[in-house]
């Protein structure tokens, strides 16, 4: 006997492994969207009149993020921004997917490339050593998104990071023995200098997010990034994925456990490190050079 939706008589297409609730496509979509809306409200992510720059790669997470944000009744403007890193045989397809999604949603997509911000593509930057692909790409992508969002007059930047990414970050801080990050004890005035970042999918698992994309036929077959094999998180992600399969809810416990730890530590007292400006580009930093300029100098 097929499993039926807990809300109607249709065949279920998703069962929440933690609560065992079963959903047909329609009720799963409503449940997922309600979860995103609840996270936005709980963490006060969006205020009336906000102009939200949405990082849109054209991949699964950002496609779902933009679709759900456009569907929710938010009193905010959405500004999709696609970063073209310059990855041969990969990016053209995902940019096309991003453009098609924006056309479908009636939104205008802004495109910014690594060539715009540093004169080179990611492929060119990594020609000597592709192993550092993810850190180079991540740093420059943040730079590109920040610049494009500011230029577009955005008040916040939304990214497609989901619960899995959050849990991986918490675990990686422990694995590195990075007590400063674990306890959130390094304070700067960064909040006043950078556009605030929001993660509306932070309480949705990657599995739920991709399932939403499949159920609503939002996802097209796209090539995998050729640099994925160098991803720093790969080991942590694989390990956490196995734990999540055997013990559903593990990732949520990791993330909420971290929140409880920070709440227990209470408001942090001590000095706030004031950020200066990068000598080369003028972006906020606590060092002589910002992360992007330091990276580009190293790659020269």
């Amino acid at each position: 006997m097929p499993v039926l939706c807990g809300h109607c008589e249709k065949k279920a297409v998703y069962v929440d492994p933690v609560t065992k609730q079963s959903f047909c496509g329609e009720h799963f979509s409503a449940w997922f969207e309600a979860g995103v809306a609840a996270a936005i409200e709980k963490y006060h992510m969006i205020e009336s009149g906000d102009r939200i720059a949405v990082g849109l790669s054209g991949g699964k997470d950002s496609t779902v993020l933009l679709t759900v944000l456009a569907k929710l009744d938010l009193d905010a403007e959405l500004i999709p921004i696609t970063v073209d890193e310059g990855i041969g045989g990969y990016r053209d397809d995902t940019i096309l997917a991003a453009t098609r999604l924006c056309d479908k949603l009636g939104l205008s997509d802004k495109l910014v490339s690594f060539t715009d911000i540093c004169g080179k593509t990611l492929d060119e930057l990594l020609s000597r050593d592709p192993r550092q692909a993810c850190s180079v790409c991540g740093t420059l992508r943040r730079r590109a998104l920040n610049l494009a969002a500011r230029e577009a007059g955005a008040t916040k930047i939304a990214t497609g990071h989901c619960l899995d990414d959050e849990a991986q970050s918490v675990l990686m801080n422990y694995l590195r023995g990075d007590l400063t990050r674990v306890t959130g004890s390094f304070q700067t005035n960064a909040d006043t200098l950078f556009l605030p970042r929001i993660k509306p999918l932070c309480r949705s698992t990657e599995r739920e997010t991709v399932a939403y994309g499949l159920v609503n036929r939002l996802l097209t077959d796209l090539p995998e990034c050729p640099y994925t094999k160098y991803a720093l998180r790969a080991g942590v992600r694989t390990g956490l994925g196995k734990l999540e399969y055997k013990n559903p809810g593990t990732m949520m416990k990791i993330v909420t456990g971290q929140e409880k730890l920070l709440a227990k530590l209470g408001p942090r007292e001590g000095e706030v490190t004031k950020m200066g400006r990068c000598e080369l580009c003028g972006e906020p930093t606590i060092h002589r050079l910002c992360a992007a300029c330091a990276l580009l100098e190293k790659l020269e």
Binding site: P2, V3, K11, A12, V13, Y14, V15, G25, G59, K60, D61, C134, C137, G138, E206, R207, T209, V210, A211, L214, V215, R217, L219, D221, E224, C225, Y227, T228, A231, R233, R237, T238, G241, K242, E244, Y245
Partner: protein, 63 residues
């Protein structure tokens, strides 16, 4: 045989069973894999029959 189209373009075949049995048999983590049949998302307990054609989507992304 059951035919599976993998995310990297490869095609695999295997015998029938529940979806979860098939994924574990092929050394895939059922948490990281979503599978559709004729566009419909399948559950771990769904029976997969001989001659079924499945499309496999990995939830894992780069970066």
């Amino acid at each position: 045989m059951v035919t599976l189209y993998l995310p990297d373009g490869q095609v695999m075949t295997t015998s029938a069973g529940t979806l979860e049995e098939i994924l574990l048999r092929l050394d895939m983590n059922p948490y990281e894999i979503l599978v559709t049949r004729d566009g419909e998302l399948l559950l771990a307990d769904d029976e997969i029959h001989e001659d079924d054609v499945l499309r496999v989507t990995s939830i894992v992304h780069g970066g």
